[in-house]
């Protein structure tokens, strides 16, 4: 599958396993342990979907989301949160995230959302290209 994914989370075990699971399904995935690292990677290559954790030390998820939407508007963002709060979710959606998923997440559900997010990106990119 031709989707380029970036996972951002400070929990190393989580990121590692997620990466393995995506790769075994032949989906290319890069990882970052912090918002700063993520932005650096985003500067180096294009990603279709970014999966980020809302609560991270240093730059938190919301701030990262804001920056991604500002700098790379075509890249879709899916938020992960272990702290289920309606306000955070709504806030994220308002700021342009594609969706949010509560931890612990169902992988297939997450995968489905990633696919749809990528589709939208492709659509937007196509439209843009078309203009």
């Amino acid at each position: 599958m031709d989707i380029n994914i970036l996972i951002v989370d400070d929990e190393a075990d989580f990121v590692e396993t997620m990466t393995k699971r995506f790769r075994i399904r032949k989906i290319p995935v890069a990882s970052a342990g912090s918002g700063v690292e993520a932005l650096k990677l985003l500067g180096e290559q294009e990603f279709d979907v970014v999966i980020l954790d809302v609560r991270m030390p240093g730059m938190d998820g919301m701030e990262l989301l804001r920056q991604i939407r500002a700098k790379y508007p075509l890249t879709e963002v899916i938020m992960l949160t272990g702290h289920a709060s309606l306000e955070t979710g709504m806030q994220g959606m308002e700021m342009g995230a594609y969706d949010y998923v509560l931890k612990p997440a169902d992988f297939d559900e997450l995968l489905d959302k990633v696919r749809r997010a990528a589709e939208r990106k492709a659509l937007n990119a196509g439209t843009k290209a078309g203009n």
């Binding site: 929990e11 075990d13 989580f14 396993t17 997620m18 393995k20 699971r21 075994i24 399904r25 609560r55 272990g82 702290h83 289920a84 709060s85 309606l86 509560l102 931890k103 612990p104 997440a105 169902d106 992988f107």
Partner: protein, 553 residues
């Protein structure tokens, strides 16, 4: 809260202080005024007594003077021969008696001490001779003489006034006897009051007049030894053990001491009355002040105790609130901290499952076991996740919000969340929402949680193919909004109906429900001041009815 003994000490301190500050001035005032009054009163009495004594002295002195003058006038205006004529003395005496009843008799005594002529009731003394008497010599020497009171030959208390005249080479004495009784009445008078007394004493403390009380005429009254002094003296003298106030003065014409004893009752009564009055007022004042103090103290202390109690209870509920708040935060923190490891475990299990798909372990005898174990791990992680998510929902509930909520909007929003699921299961959700439904002062997020839970339950109950009907309406008296959610599911059997809101009660299979949903919903509705109940019959679906007060203050 201050203990009982602390309050008692405070109470006593309060009362004693107030009493002290109130009573001490009162007592000082009463005492001072009484003393002032006593001093003024006493000084007045002494003044009065002095005046009385002085006046009486003047009266008596005047009397004695008058008698002397009268006798002298008689003696010096006629020669002895005149008096020796028969009846002359009687005539003169009658004249004298006409104006002054004091004379008992009158007589003339020659220089040899013989009574030459006499008029009066005691004829027997005509034969008396006074040559050796002391008074006889004195009157010849001094020209006049006033005697002390004595019984004498007459055996009757009297005193004599005598004047002597030198006529050529002859001396003769005109002597009159003064009636003691009548003299006494001169000394006594109404001015003395009911219990006052007045009497005369000679230099040997022998009574020269009859006092009203106590000793008899010619008895002794020892008032102390007084040598002649000028003017009036006021002394307090004990008579028969009782102290009396005396006014003392010496007569000018005779060596007699005039003593006027003040009416003790008259002196004391006003003072005693005043003293009683002072005591009475003090006592009354004390009672009033004490009463007032105790009342005020009690009131203040009651207020204090009340405030303390309120403060304590406020503190308690504050502590409770903050405990609950921290509990909430802790719960949220715990849930969050558990969710992360859960997520990791889930991914690990998922990864293992992925690997099972890839590796050639499919043929190993334990493959099935691996697969089953992984499935079970994932299953129970999901179960734990449900609990933490419910817990997070609960934690969020700690501080209810008071917004103006449009219930219709909340319901509509909630249904959109579940629309996908419902459509997927071919369940139709229709609404009958009252137009212009009044706003409710409540918490929109929590209400949404309740509606979400119930409609979600309805969807699960129906399973596939059915409908859910949601309605809202406003009623009056009491002013509230009623929300009904009716499903076309299998309904709830009677024996489960009253357990439905119990915590951890669920009809779903293990892992499919936590049993907390309705419990939390019930709790939310109650906290918002409303009620929630369910009506159902087996096979007839279930209807949830929620009453919410408008909460308009």
């Amino acid at each position: 809260m201050i203990e009982g003994s602390g309050y008692t000490k405070l109470r006593i301190k309060m009362i004693l202080t107030t009493l002290g500050f109130s009573l001490i001035p009162l007592v000082i005032l009463g005492f001072t005024i009484y003393r002032q009054f006593e001093a003024a009163h006493t000084s007045k009495i002494i003044q009065h007594l002095s005046h009385l004594t002085e006046n009486k002295r003047r009266t008596i002195d005047l009397f004695l003077n008058e008698r002397l003058s009268q006798l002298m006038a008689i003696a010096y205006t006629h020669k002895l021969e005149y008096f020796l004529e028969d009846g002359t003395l009687e005539r003169v005496f009658t004249l004298m008696q006409a104006r002054s009843k004091y004379y008992i008799d009158l007589g003339i005594i020659d220089q040899d001490g013989n009574h030459v002529i006499y008029t009066g009731p005691y004829q027997t003394i005509r034969t008396a001779n006074y040559k050796d008497e002391e008074w006889f010599n004195q009157v010849l020497a001094k020209g006049f003489y006033i005697s002390d009171v004595f019984l004498g030959r007459r055996n009757y208390p009297h005193f004599i006034i005598a004047v002597s005249r030198r006529d050529g080479n002859r001396n003769w004495i005109l002597r009159a006897t003064i009636d003691s009784d009548i003299f006494d009445s001169l000394v006594q008078s109404d001015q003395l009051g009911a219990n006052g007394d007045a009497f005369l004493l000679n230099a040997e403390n022998v009574l020269q007049s009859k006092p009203r009380f106590g000793a008899k005429l010619l008895g002794t009254m020892n008032l102390g030894a007084y040598s002649r002094f000028p003017g009036v003296r006021n002394e307090t003298i004990k008579v028969d053990g009782k102290p009396y106030l005396f006014g003392l003065t010496w007569l000018e014409n005779k060596n007699w001491l005039l003593a006027i004893r003040d009416d003790p009752a008259e002196e004391l009564t006003p003072l005693t009355q005043t003293r009683y009055m002072v005591w009475f007022i003090l006592a009354g004042g004390f009672l009033v002040i004490a009463g007032g103090t105790i009342l005020t103290s009690n009131t203040i202390l009651a207020q204090l105790m009340n405030s303390e109690r309120e403060k304590a209870s406020l503190n308690a509920s504050l502590t409770q609130s903050s405990k609950m708040a921290s509990l909430g935060k802790m719960a949220a923190g715990v849930a969050h901290e558990i969710n992360n490891p859960l997520a990791i475990i889930k991914e690990q299990a998922g990864w293992m499952r992925d690997l099972l798909g890839e590796e050639d372990i499919k043929n190993s005898p334990n493959f099935k076991e691996f697969e089953d174990s992984i499935t079970k791990i994932e299953f129970h992680v999901t179960r734990a996740k449900d609990v933490t998510h419910r817990l997070l929902g609960f934690a969020r509930r700690m501080d209810p919000v008071h917004d103006d909520v449009n219930i219709n909007e909340v319901i509509t929003q909630t249904i959109t969340f579940l629309q996908n699921e419902a459509r997927y299961r071919v369940i139709e959700i229709d609404t009958n929402l009252q137009k212009d439904l009044p706003f409710v002062a409540s918490d929109p997020a929590q209400l949404q949680q309740v509606f979400l839970n119930i409609i979600d339950n309805a969807i699960d109950a129906i399973g596939k193919n059915g409908n859910i009907h949601v309605a809202t309406m406003a009623v009056h008296d009491p002013d509230e909004i009623i929300v009904t959610i009716k499903d076309s599911g299998p309904g709830i059997p009677k024996e489960k109906l009253d357990k439905i809101f119990d915590p951890f009660f669920t009809t779903k299979k293990v892992g499919e429900g936590t049993g907390l949903g309705l419990t939390i919903s019930f709790s939310i509705v109650q906290k918002l001041g409303g009620r929630i109940r369910v009506e159902s019959e087996e096979g007839q679906g279930a209807t949830f009815i929620i009453n919410l007060p408008l909460n308009k203050d």
